[in-house]
């Protein structure tokens, strides 16, 4: 059973590494923000699997923190960059 968890974690990590290519290619800022979202969601999945593998429920708190900062970054980008519109119409 443990070996399946390890394979899943490794697979998800490779997933993240693959998705990070969008940081280089993505033409706009929003595209690059997508990779942070990808990392956030996949990282939460990794943490959930690790919580099952290590039998340590404290890892769930880290997962909630990942979720919080993902939404914080999105609202940060949207609200901070939107004010730029008002400056130079």
């Amino acid at each position: 059973m443990d070996i399946i968890f390890i394979i899943v974690v490794v697979f998800l990590l490779l997933n993240i590494a693959l998705g990070l290519f969008r940081v280089w290619r993505g033409p706009t800022v929003a595209d690059r923000l997508l990779t942070t979202q990808l990392f956030g969601t996949t990282g939460m999945a990794i943490l959930l699997v690790l919580a099952g593998y290590l039998k340590d429920l404290n890892l769930l708190n880290v997962a909630i923190t990942f979720n919080v900062l993902a939404i914080l970054l999105v609202i940060g980008l949207v609200q901070v960059w939107k004010k730029k519109k008002g400056e130079s119409p």
């Binding site: 899943v8 969601t41 996949t42 769930l60 993902a70 939404i71 999105v74």
Partner: protein, 102 residues
């Protein structure tokens, strides 16, 4: 006992498939809106499957409740951020689009 493990493994594999689909979508789709679609839908479905597998594996009701509340918040945050990013990009492309509507 055996059946529980088999179900856990199946759920994990299905979740991994959706994560792979989401990543490929982010890499291969032509514009931001399709990429958003791939990322925020497929990945959250994958997270749901993995959350279900882990709730089953850990087996305590308290942990299951916590895992599912995590998934619920993620759904909420992810769909909202999908909408926000899409609207941000749309307003950037067409600056005077919906100022009056709001």
């Amino acid at each position: 006992m055996m059946i529980k493990e088999v179900i856990t493994v199946i759920l994990l594999v299905v979740g991994c498939f959706f994560f792979l689909a989401g990543t490929l979508g982010v890499l291969r789709f032509p514009d931001l809106f399709s990429r958003l679609h791939a990322l925020t839908k497929a990945d959250n479905l994958g997270l749901g499957f993995i959350a279900a597998a882990m709730a089953l594996h850990i087996g305590s009701p308290w942990a299951a409740l916590k895992i599912f509340s995590i998934w619920f918040f993620t759904l909420l945050a992810s769909s909202t951020s999908c909408y926000l990013i899409a609207r941000f990009q749309k307003e950037k492309d067409q600056p005077t689009d919906r100022k009056e509507v709001e």
